[in-house]
Symmetry: D2
Subunit: 255 residues, 4 copies
Amino acid sequence: MLKVGSYSFNSRLLLGTGKYPDFDIQKQAVDVSESEILTFAVRRMNIFEASQPNFLEKLDLEKYTLLPNTAGAKTAEEAVRIAKLAKASGLCDMIKVEVIGCWKTLLPDPVETLKATEELLKEGFTVLPYTSDDVVLARKLEELGAHAIMPGASPIGSGQGIINELNLGFIIEQSNVPVIVDAGIGSPADAAKAMELGADGVLLNTAVSAAKDPVKMAEAMKLAIEAGRLGYEAGRMEKKRYATASSPSEGMSVG
Amino acid sequence: MLKVGSYSFNSRLLLGTGKYPDFDIQKQAVDVSESEILTFAVRRMNIFEASQPNFLEKLDLEKYTLLPNTAGAKTAEEAVRIAKLAKASGLCDMIKVEVIGCWKTLLPDPVETLKATEELLKEGFTVLPYTSDDVVLARKLEELGAHAIMPGASPIGSGQGIINELNLGFIIEQSNVPVIVDAGIGSPADAAKAMELGADGVLLNTAVSAAKDPVKMAEAMKLAIEAGRLGYEAGRMEKKRYATASSPSEGMSVG
Amino acid sequence: MLKVGSYSFNSRLLLGTGKYPDFDIQKQAVDVSESEILTFAVRRMNIFEASQPNFLEKLDLEKYTLLPNTAGAKTAEEAVRIAKLAKASGLCDMIKVEVIGCWKTLLPDPVETLKATEELLKEGFTVLPYTSDDVVLARKLEELGAHAIMPGASPIGSGQGIINELNLGFIIEQSNVPVIVDAGIGSPADAAKAMELGADGVLLNTAVSAAKDPVKMAEAMKLAIEAGRLGYEAGRMEKKRYATASSPSEGMSVG
Amino acid sequence: MLKVGSYSFNSRLLLGTGKYPDFDIQKQAVDVSESEILTFAVRRMNIFEASQPNFLEKLDLEKYTLLPNTAGAKTAEEAVRIAKLAKASGLCDMIKVEVIGCWKTLLPDPVETLKATEELLKEGFTVLPYTSDDVVLARKLEELGAHAIMPGASPIGSGQGIINELNLGFIIEQSNVPVIVDAGIGSPADAAKAMELGADGVLLNTAVSAAKDPVKMAEAMKLAIEAGRLGYEAGRMEKKRYATASSPSEGMSVG
């Protein structure tokens, strides 16, 4: 059970809603993923422009918790403004803080992320900041009261998987709120690895939407996250430099 | 569907039966894994010594295909002798050739593996040789007529996962018979990765039997292999050095 | 030529002075390394306690530029105080800002590092901040006016080498001041790798002082940094998935 | 001092002579590298066709030991024939056995390599077989009497560096003859890493000849190999998961 603030979820997969080939495939992928939390950029909400097709209209919004994000924000001020706009829609009071500090790498701005998180916590939001894997920054976000920490595995949409397992492990060790690995997951093995490290959840988008078959990949991700979580709970074997026979050699009757 | 010689299987997980804490846990792990192929060292069969407890007696052998292995063999001659002993038991006609060339690393002997494979194919066995990830050796085994190729990910029982993805990828690309990654898998992410590379199956033992909770890990492995296979079929996104926004920037209404 | 603020150096190796077996070995290692910049924790300076043996007393201080660091500081305020103490000694006006945010990982505090850097720049210091490999944080430090950026390869004294080549590469790409990889280097190959990525220098300590033979390792590091720099300037070959013959096949006269 | 059979060398860098932009650059690179062993494909020798320019004619052959290789051979028989042709030229009695088993990956054929090595040893050659990193195969080559073992780091000309450090380490541990890492080295850090693992030498070609500035890269490689060797002899620090302060905290006088 993944608990974020006052919310509880059975699924540990948070799915993004951007860049699917079409809304039907998006809907099928979301269904198959069994994700309960859908994230989307507030700036893409056409809720104020009813004439345009809405990426959310195919989805049964009763079934999902919406997690709007502040993608597009370059400053804390912009992020706060976007978050308030989302809340005003009445759809949600959770917000994923995303303040980008570099448009080439889409890596987050640590200072503005801290500021936005602080401000939005004061305003009563349930706040999930997207952050780099800077270990001390992650602790500062938790100390401010963030409801979850969302360190990136690698740059958004890069599909490079987890580059720094050590930092991710440190963040997981130190955190008392959920750690949700966000950004950079490229394949089911990446997602499983994040969960094996002890992450509480994984947020991904491009790995599904840019797969050749997004619906099948959504299912793969659902299973991978379950597998990784079970693997974490089961307690993996230790790694060894040298081999160890899996067939005991005692009592050999042949040879 | 995994097809090896004249056999077909729904599951792509081949499970070893060695070194479980006890036979009950072994049975539960096997059940939960939904594996259809169980491997075991022939030298551990106590079928000729009915007075001793038998590691297979808890299992409903109607449900499984048994894949005896020649663990303990140092030469082709020994491997052939062990294989014939297994066949004489009437339990199976598949054999996993395992001829160890180094007791510290448990890495296979390429020359004796080739010889044993050739001899056992002549004798009519369905032969699955365990081999290093030497690409040319793998092709030679296929040219002899091996029914599957079983390259190691890393040393037996080491849990180091896949060290050489490149060679494994080359073996998968060149092979027209199933490639089953055997040895070295340590965690669900490792198993998923093997399947994403295009392997047809994964054989593992210690990763389950030496987990703190083998039954839960067996379930994790089952899911990871399904996830990896689906991920392979779905066609993963390309990796990129730089980031790519998952939220399209067109039509920004906020900012 | 490495230029930091108004200083120029032929050597790109910055050497720490801590934890050598004894002061003679320290001196020999420093000599052999041909390093021109020596770093040390201000808190270890016994300059006010002339009765105690001083780690600097064996060294010909005319030959070196001293780079005191603020190790031990937990806040910007402490770091500034330590820096001023160092300057008051008359030995130097460069300072390596090191504000630790976690005593288990010795990873730096991004917020306090920014503050200390800003304050010390105002005071006229030549400031080299030790930082995580957070890409946006590195840019903010440069924007403040830092004279060099010193991202860690991995935790101080861990010897794990470069974990995140991608972020290090991004920092090098974006920076107009020298990037000196600091912390985590464990072996000559690690140091060469940092230089090949385009770093302007490497700061290390434990890799030399904790080697079995620190003097020999100091020489190894000197050569590795030269090798890595030359390799960077020479422009390495591209990596390829498949092989390429180094012996042209045209004009084969044998076969 | 690198000893191969009855030969001794100060340099641990073996350099290939193929694919340089022109013979002048080749000569300069060879000079700067301080390599004492030059390898070349026998099939490229134009010694019998005096009218054509010869790649060796710029070099002072008194200074070098020539190591012809059997590149182009697909079988042991071909390799033996090529080796004899080289010996007949009177230039050398060392031979690098290279029997390729796959033209896409240029990976060696283990069976034919064994055969060719055995045959050439009988004929009195000093034999250095190029092999995969199959650990048992390497031991068999040594048992035959090979004068050095030359495992590949990754495919010829791929520049991928060392993929399987574990196998390379195992081969080095078990071998009583020199282990010379051959093929796949892409950069100075790769070469240093091979030497740190305990290799006795490195053979490379494309990493130098395909660099933007081959002469500068030749110097880089020379230094990297010296650095890696010194690092190996110096005994590197242990890797640690957590940080260790390089500035002792005892006697803090500040803070």
